[in-house]
């Protein structure tokens, strides 16, 4: 297995991508807002990077500029130090996996996979070898002579991936490749793609609007909004220490509580007044004492117990309602700092807290994050 892997796609330590001030404007009018503006990013060889953002934020456009399907209005894209501007898409060292899979309907699975190799004018014997090994890697061995329309969605997805991988690209590009699959299959494919990518070490750029997908798969996530980068960081950093309220809100569920800063400490923490108590919380570096701020509290970083506050560090609230998810239960709680969504994992189903009940609330201060409130 390992041997065949090597012959199909050998791990390479190339595929670094540098985007410099990449901008895309559709149409010639300067009044139309840029679809992508001043996009700056260094992608390491072998990295799995995800473009995450709401629909229309420019993810696909950026990916297609890297692939060469869209021209860039200004800026530059380099691969391994090579400027891509004048390189046509079919000459770029990358392969793309499409949302619709884009399998050639008139060719069998084997012919689909062989397509690019034949264009490379590879000897027939090597083509046959490479196809066998990639079919084995992708668990497609029995399906080689079927037509694409005789395959399930997940199998089609695998063929599309195999067809891209067999080209030994330096870079793999994915545009929402899992969005046509059902939820179970989607999770399984996430895992498969990620494992394969790790094993082969191919630089991968993955576009999605699904934050779970981005969290599960990425080395780093690029969060985008309105054609601009909001943050580039590892998933845990994006989740725990988002750059902005937009990022915090887009990635995972977020509570924003009204707080008052009492003191800034030199170690990057701040003392704030929230839920009627004073706590010390980690803070974004842009927070100033006099500016408006919001405290990001993830629903799972809150402890609640029935009854009045049991310590000086606990606040008070009233349960407005609850939603049961099986593995967790979510309570909506009214507090003096705003409404708070609280998620309790593995709840005791016999002892759910009834609506209207007064609860004592304790924040896990280290898991909260103080952010400047730019909307205020």
């Amino acid at each position: 297995m390992l041997e065949s892997t090597r012959s199909a796609v050998e791990p390479v330590n190339t595929g670094g991508v540098i985007l410099r001030k990449v901008t895309k404007r559709y149409g010639t009018k300067t009044s139309t807002p840029a679809a992508v503006a001043d996009f700056d990013l260094d992608i390491e060889p072998g990295e799995f990077i995800t473009f995450l953002g709401p629909s229309g934020c420019g993810k696909t456009t950026t990916l297609r500029m890297i692939a060469g399907f869209e021209s860039i209005s200004s800026g530059s894209i380099e691969v391994d130090g090579l400027d891509m501007t004048s390189v046509p898409p079919n000459m770029r060292p990358m392969s793309m996996v499409f949302q619709s899979y884009a399998l050639f309907p008139h060719l069998s699975v084997r012919e689909n996979i062989a397509y690019g190799l034949k264009i490379k004018k590879m000897p027939a014997a090597r083509i046959a070898d490479d196809i066998e090994s990639i079919l084995a890697i992708m668990n497609l061995s029995g399906l080689a002579d079927r037509s694409p329309r005789e395959l399930s969605g997940g199998q089609q997805q695998r063929v599309a991936l195999a067809r891209a991988l067999v080209m030994r690209p330096k870079i793999l590009l994915f545009d929402e490749p899992l969005s046509n699959l059902d939820a179970k299959l989607r999770e399984q494919m996430r895992l498969e793609i990620r494992q394969l990518q790790r094993r082969l070490g191919i630089t991968s750029i993955f576009v999605t609007h699904d934050q779970d997908e981005a969290m599960n798969m990425s080395d780093r996530i690029v969060v985008m909004s309105k054609g601009r980068i909001e943050q580039v960081a590892e998933p845990s950093v994006v989740y725990r220490h988002p750059e902005s309220m937009f990022v915090a809100d887009f990635v995972g569920k977020a509570n924003f509580l009204d707080v008052e800063v009492q003191r800034m400490h030199d170690d990057g923490t701040a003392e704030v007044q929230v839920l009627g108590v004073t706590v010390r919380v980690p803070s974004h570096e842009d927070v100033r004492k006099e500016d408006p701020v919001q405290l990001l509290v993830r629903p799972e970083s809150v402890r609640i117990t029935i009854g009045s506050p049991d310590s000086r560090r606990a606040g008070v609230g009233t349960v407005l309602g609850s939603v049961f998810y099986g593995s967790s239960v979510e309570y909506e709680i009214e507090t003096e700092s705003g409404n708070l969504l609280v998620s309790i994992a593995d709840p005791d189903v016999d002892r759910l807290i009834p609506t209207g009940c007064e609860v004592s609330i304790r924040l896990e201060e280290n898991r909260t994050w103080l952010l400047p409130d730019l909307h205020a």
Binding site: N13, T14, G16, E44, L82, P88, N90, M96, A102, F104
Partner: protein, 582 residues
């Protein structure tokens, strides 16, 4: 990232070389598209630009100017123009009416035998010119079966009324197909809404359905109007004293050898045809989109209300009876010694057609049509591909140029070709092409005939290509590009195989059209090359109707065999064969 690893530095060192390579390949790919555009533009210039510019030049020369001025000063010339316009207008109305009645009955009225009606309505499309006209003479002429044998009168079929009868029967299928498509795509919810408001069937038709079809009426009228003024074969046989532009052009060219006058008459034919083409392209097509929703929201109910059903069925039955009568005359006439006069049965006519000159004509016609079809097909597909995939700003222009073959009447093309290609083609005094038409040219002038077939077959191929290509998702093309294929490779290995079935169907009909057309090639036939339709004309001219009928029957059988063969082959390749049913 900023500190490059050894590997990536090694990559970087290989950089400039790799860069040069990829640039060169990239430029080549870009050049491929540009070269294809260049070649196509040259071909279109040769096939359309040159003949038409020569035609205009000759029409504006001394002989031509005399004729053109005549349209302002000479009542005779004006009468010819008025005759043509009148004929076109009347046929526009009658053909549209008949086409609509048949289409309406076919789509909306409840009855058995829809498939048979459809096939009968399409017969005139594949039938050669003269079939209807000659049959009409045999039936209604001076010694006609019906006029003299049944009614005992001296029939007079020559002139305007005869032409209207023949044209209506020959051209109504165009209107029929047009209305059939529209009626099938009408959104039934509109009629349902009206009937929910308590309107009766007839009232709904008059107030809801017909108004929505108005653009269809306009389009049919215009198309038939152009067919009516452009046709040459029927006025040659049936015109009598009724002179029209196309016959005038023909006699000027072949009788008086006055090329300038022929060109001038043709120019007068071009103007209305071009105008109609432009109106259809830029005005009606847009209207149609708003009038008919693409996705019907349900099945339209067949009408069984007697107030609608009975008149529709009676009218349609009458039309079917006339068609049947005409074509039975054609088939039977091929076996009669002198159709209508001496009805003794004989096989002489078929013997003449199948063994004598006829067999050479069949061979030549089929060969030339089959050479032109793939050329036209490839050209049409390439234009379609450039228009949908490659060009942005000039896509509309190229599409327009390719479709011009339908805008110019066959007579005009034929005369243009005769003018342009009987002599060597020169550019700036240097001869770049020998004569392509006429007996002295290579292959007995066959090249010019193939060229004119190509121009006429290009539009259907192009239209089909564009329709088929717009159904293929662009990500399929991009996937191929992403796997390393350049534009040309993608076209050859992905696009072409995917559009092949639609392509073959379009080509079949184009071939059939080439084989049954007369007006463009009558100016280009030579003693060396025999074309079926011009052989039929010769037989009709000499009053040998039996031979003409035998020719028609054989030609129809060839065309039907061709269509059946292609259908059969496609059915084997494509699983859903019924989508190619005519």
């Amino acid at each position: 990232m900023s500190a490059p690893t050894t590997e990536s530095r090694a990559q970087f060192r290989r950089g400039p070389e790799a860069r040069r390579m990829s640039r060169a390949r990239g430029v080549r790919d870009d050049v491929t598209s540009k070269v294809i555009v260049g070649i196509i533009v040259l071909i279109l210039l040769l096939l359309l630009g040159l003949p038409l510019s020569q035609l205009v030049t000759r029409a504006l020369g001394p002989d031509g100017r005399e004729v053109l001025l005549g349209f302002f000063t000479d009542p005779n010339h004006r009468a010819v123009l008025a005759n043509s316009l009148m004929l076109g207008a009347i046929v526009g109305v009658t053909g549209t009416a008949v086409g609509f009645i048949v289409a309406f009955t076919q789509v909306r009225v409840k009855f058995r035998g829809k498939r048979a009606l459809h096939l009968i309505a399409l017969i005139p499309i594949v039938s050669p010119p003269f079939a209807v006209a000659t049959a009409a003479i045999t039936l209604f002429g001076r010694n006609g079966y019906i006029s003299s044998n049944l009614l005992g009168i001296q029939g007079d079929i020559y002139g305007l009324h005869g032409l209207v009868f023949v044209y209506t029967l020959s051209f109504f299928p165009v209107a029929y197909m047009n209305f059939k498509g529209m009626l099938e795509n009408l959104d039934p919810s509109l009629e349902e809404a009206a009937s929910g408001l308590g309107a009766g069937k007839l009232k709904i038709l008059l107030t809801v359905t017909f108004p929505m079809l108005l653009p269809g009426f306009a389009a049919s009228f215009l198309v038939l109007f152009v067919e009516g003024i452009a046709d040459l074969s029927n006025p040659l046989v049936l015109g009598g004293d009724y002179a029209v532009l196309s016959t005038r052009a023909y006699f000027a060219m072949t009788g008086d050898f006055n090329i300038g006058a022929g060109a001038a008459y043709s120019l007068m034919l071009v103007l209305p045809a071009l105008l109609v083409f432009l109106v259809q392209r830029y005005w009606l097509n847009r209207k149609k989109v708003t009038a008919v929703t693409g996705k019907p929201s349900g099945r339209m109910q067949a009408i069984s209300a007697p107030s609608v059903r009975i008149p529709s069925l009676i009218l349609t039955a009458g039309i079917v009876a006339v068609i049947a009568l005409v074509y039975l005359t054609v088939i039977l006439g091929g076996f009669q010694r002198v159709p209508g006069v001496n009805n003794e049965l004989t096989l002489d006519h078929f013997e003449f057609v199948l063994t004598g000159i006829g067999s050479q004509a069949m061979r030549d016609t089929i060969t030339l049509a089959l050479i032109a079809a793939p050329v036209a097909g490839v050209l049409g597909m390439l234009i379609g591909w450039l228009v949908t995939r490659k060009l942005k700003r000039f896509a509309g222009l190229l599409d327009f140029a390719g479709m011009l073959g339908t805008a110019f009447p066959g007579t005009v093309l034929g005369i243009g070709y005769a003018i342009a290609f009987l002599v060597p083609t020169t550019v700036l005094g240097i001869e770049i092409l020998p004569p392509l038409a006429g007996g002295a040219a290579a292959f007995g002038g066959a090249i010019a005939i193939v060229m004119v077939f190509t121009v006429r077959s290009l539009p259907p191929g192009q239209r089909t290509g564009i329709a088929a290509l717009s159904q293929i998702d662009s990500s399929i093309d991009e996937a191929s590009t992403s796997l390393g294929a350049g534009s040309a490779t993608t076209f050859r290995r992905v696009t072409l195989p995917l559009i092949r079935p639609a392509f073959a169907t379009a080509l079949t009909f184009a071939t059939a059209r080439s084989m049954t057309s007369l007006s463009p090639i009558i100016f280009l036939t030579t003693p060396e090359i025999k074309i079926l339709t011009s052989q039929i004309l010769a037989e009709v001219d000499n009053g040998r109707y039996g031979n003409a009928f035998a020719y028609c029957t054989v030609l129809v059988i060839i065309v039907l065999l061709l269509i059946t063969l292609v259908n059969f082959l496609l059915r084997k390749v494509v699983h859903r064969g019924n989508q190619f049913d005519a």
